[in-house]
Symmetry: D3
Subunit: 249 residues, 6 copies
């Protein structure tokens, strides 16, 4: 058995539970999923400031996981915050849900559309598509205007997302939908049924990817950029959760 | 249980068996792997002519698989021959080993090097990297000069591949090795041990990817380009293996 | 005198004749055009499956041409099927109509629009534009919804194409029209008159290009990728038209 | 008079002083420079983990600056950590030294070479060049192997940097050198004299850029992505330096 | 004190005066601005022919400036005509207003829109954005239909530009406006107030950039492409203004 | 009969004659070639200043050609100086030798190497390859160090070029050579024989291209950017050769 730690980088515990359930459903019989939130951070991530503040507590969860023998990690926020830093700390594979969702969509059709939450997150998602080499396949990123925390509570959220997705398929001439927020994970099957096209949820995609990497025996390369960085003199309030201090315990 | 059909597009049966064994090792307990060769074609694929002649017989195996209820497919030649055509025929996912290997390598490090067989295949592999959006991550494609059929019989093949891979890691400043031929699948674990970096075998990567897609319930989008094309009047010698005729049976 | 073989990769003989007439009109007094269809294949090419099934019979026509001393080849289908494979077989130049049409359009204006047949062919044409390095110049690919075989029989086809082209010039802010199917070759002059902009027909563009290459004494490079591949053991139904067997005769 | 706050994201105070002196020398008579370190973080930034841990304390310095009426900011680490987050918080312009150095170099020659510290930082710098659209102009990124903290203490550091830069000019066929670490700022004039080509120091480049933006009355756009994000419920150890809490004071 | 020569490449003297005033306002207390027109050329530049005819007289002004000890140059036409040639002649920095405006805009937001004069200039501006590596940040180039010489005389010009800019911000999902003609320089402050986003004027941006380069002691690299080219035998009417003859005086 | 005017943008008359002979050899029996030099300009073009000074006199030759009924134009300098401006003036097609050579090479192999004259011209040629979308196919640009005027007089020039080309084929892993200067046109056949790969001369490639465009009835699009620009008030020494004045005669 292998252990996959799915880290929801925000501190909304109900969302962490939903993400964990979704991940467990695709991890396969050989993997155990544990879903956690950071030790510190905001209730949702909808800006670069939010991302920056969530990452240290998320990295602490990786360091803690290393000490506990975790085999692989999913970072369950569509901005892929702290992904490269987490790769430095982990021996096993670390996969972000935006990269996994986009690469997964590329196996299923020629072009995909992403439906996300607030308009201010769109440029960062477009930048990720460029960084991952998928800007030609990513035909459009569409903001629904629904905030992350409202996805769970707004009874019309699912319906609104469906309408944005249907319009995106036509406007973008695309054939796959990617859900651009971990908080949408529970809508996936309903949307796929409704839309008649593949709907990729990043949490499922990243978890299945980590499970597959583990079955292949593949881990993060420690040659070069992602080698574990040495500990350093450190000043101030973050010392208590500094991940290399946690690693060294 | 799901069924994954791994199609070795060449007609060397011993290679088909080795590929099937490799795929079965990573497909997970919920999937059955069946490995097949095309109904017609050359013993190895090392040119665009070889690819063109292998594809019709490979597509016949997809059409036949559809009739038999196969859930997903792997195309096990590093040129990804006939991949888009196979996606048109299949309801489930179809994954090529070059695209799967390159996308898998992108999760493990910043840059990967590909070690392949003959020099004449290098430009096509580079073109695939561009097409998949991975030209920045693909730091180099290196020909070992070993022909596909000699991989099985040359006792020094494995050692030569290792030497090319070691040189590539330095010259390309890369941190992951991708094996650029399905015939190298049996060298993977030995090479990873020898080199100390992740070594990605496309057969394993593609099989794990298809298994993961199936667990997520994801299939090829039939909206647009990959819809099943209608049958057409057809002239000549290929009529017996024309896949739409096979589909219609 | 030089001989240019124009291969219509589908088996609709009336279309082959029209293509041949168009090619002959631009080949110049020093070249003889011969137009042929493959020895086997579908009546039209509108999917990746169609392309895959047409290529072996098309390659047989190249091999046959080599034996007969043909000087250069045009592949007269806008998907450029089998182009790289044909270059491996031929000593002289081989030009596809999509690549010739796009490169020709780039001499005449800043941006061109392509008008083609069915929507499902659009993504492949866009992929060709990327592959040829012309994605910035290719301002849009527009499907008219007219099937290849209806171009000859639908009396309104020409008019519909004109309307799509006019709309494309405005929507794409383009200044040249490219006809995205060999079956439109007879509409070229009428459309140019009607639209007031250059209208590039791929059959004419490719034939003029081959004729020009022959006058310069330029042939396909046999250094590396496009060297003639050696013959190989071959299994099954395609053996009768395997091009290297034909070459060796 | 305008105030430019130059933030050295590491907590090595002697380096902060040197950076401040360099910035003051180019800010012009109309601007006052104040150089600060984060309220918390590591002594140097040489990994993605380092960057992630430095950013919250750096953002606190931005929030504090906003309260104090600072007009513009420089982020003085060549990885441009937290740049987008800082732009969300600041009303005025925020410039990173990597982006400023690369864009400045592009005015002076056709291609530039970057000389930096440790090899593990090279891929991130290359990624920044892609993100800023300067991958064609950035002809090479070269690691000197000298750690950030040794730049101040190793008496041979300057000479070694010069040798790497000279080799880079030849190997990369470049005509401008960019110094890839804020800790090299004091070497700039000596290197320019020694090498006979323009040598761009990011601290100077970013400070001059901010000063120039301020003279033009240009500030960060608050339309869309960089609007100030609202405060949120926040858990844990970072609450004391959460920048929106500081902003709201 | 340093001297910055701002060359308006057209021969409309009133525009030269306005450009000079704008440049002087941002050059800072340490720089003197002198604004000049070419010794020969058309009254406005709105085609490639115009650009070609303006450049020799503009280069003569550079050569003359070198003889007079000018420290740096701005080329004040949004097509950046003759920029590379001017760099060959000048010892100090030379900056074009299109490149400076686009790079400046990239510090202020994620995407910018350009509002320019006639439609025929749009493709060249788009080509410049590609050449400078800013095609992703340049979200759209919009022609107002107002000719250069009418910018000064049409009382509605300013209002029309504002309307195009407002529409562009929405259509392009952009957050910064770039003025695509030196003749719009006087509208900048009014537009910024009206639109509520940063408005970048190339004349100001380029002048501030040159001033900043001079404060850093940075000059054009003379290693390679931009070395001063030697004089040559020369035929015909341009001999009187051949810049190397002027340089040699 | 059609008339193709081949303009050698430099004023070395012996080179003009050689270029004319080369062009005539490939223009075909239906076209007459006339080779001319500009009415004014330098003896060779080896810098951006040279290009800028040659263009007005070259455009005068286009305007003069229009008055005389010339059908198409070749601009016979590998920097393609003034190409867009010439397209504005001409009704028929205008082709530069760099664009024609690179596009022609792309039909013959996967990657080409360019051998040119002085090192300082290399960056501009690389920029042209990017602008034409051929940066992937252009595997290298190599300076031989031989000045343009020495190509005719140095008895070893041909041999040196051959050595550079042979080395380039290996270093660049390319399969086609492109001659990067019109002054090398007479070496083409000898080099092709010597090297055993296709050698593309831009003068021949551009002339064959123009002849082919004329046979297709294709002319420069006058919709948008390349419409003939209206005449304008004009100041100074170039008035006598201002092309629109010549056009209007």
């Amino acid at each position: 058995m292998t252990t996959i730690r799915v880290i929801n980088p925000n501190t909304t515990v109900s969302m962490t539970a939903a993400i964990g359930a979704c991940a467990a459903a695709v991890a396969g019989p050989e993997a155990v999923v544990e879903a956690v939130s950071p030790v510190a951070g905001p209730v949702s991530l909808e800006s670069q400031v939010d991302d920056a503040l969530a990452v240290p507590g998320m990295l602490a969860r990786v360091a803690e996981g290393e000490a506990a023998g975790v085999d692989g990690y999913v970072i369950a926020c569509f901005g892929d915050p702290g992904l490269a830093a987490a790769r430095e700390l982990a021996a096993g594979p670390v996969v972000g849900i935006a990269e996994a969702a986009m690469r997964t969509a590329a196996y299923l059709g020629r072009r995909f559309s992403i439906v996300t939450t607030l308009a201010r997150t769109v440029p960062h998602i477009e930048e990720l598509a460029v960084s991952y080499g998928l800007e030609r396949q990513c035909a459009g990123v569409h903001a629904s205007g629904i905030a992350v925390v409202d996805l769970e509570t707004d009874p019309l959220a699912r319906e609104k997302i469906a309408e944005f997705a249907e319009a995106a398929l036509v406007a973008d001439r695309s054939d796959v939908i990617v859900l651009g927020c971990a908080g949408m994970t529970e809508f996936t099957a309903w949307l796929a049924e409704r839309l008649g096209v593949p709907v990729v949820d990043g949490v499922a995609a990243a978890t299945a990817t980590v499970a597959g990497l583990l079955r292949q025996g593949l881990r993060t390369s420690k040659r070069g950029e992602f080698a574990v960085p040495g500990a350093k003199p450190f000043t101030g309030t973050l010392a208590a959760i500094e991940p290399r201090a946690l690693l060294a315990r």
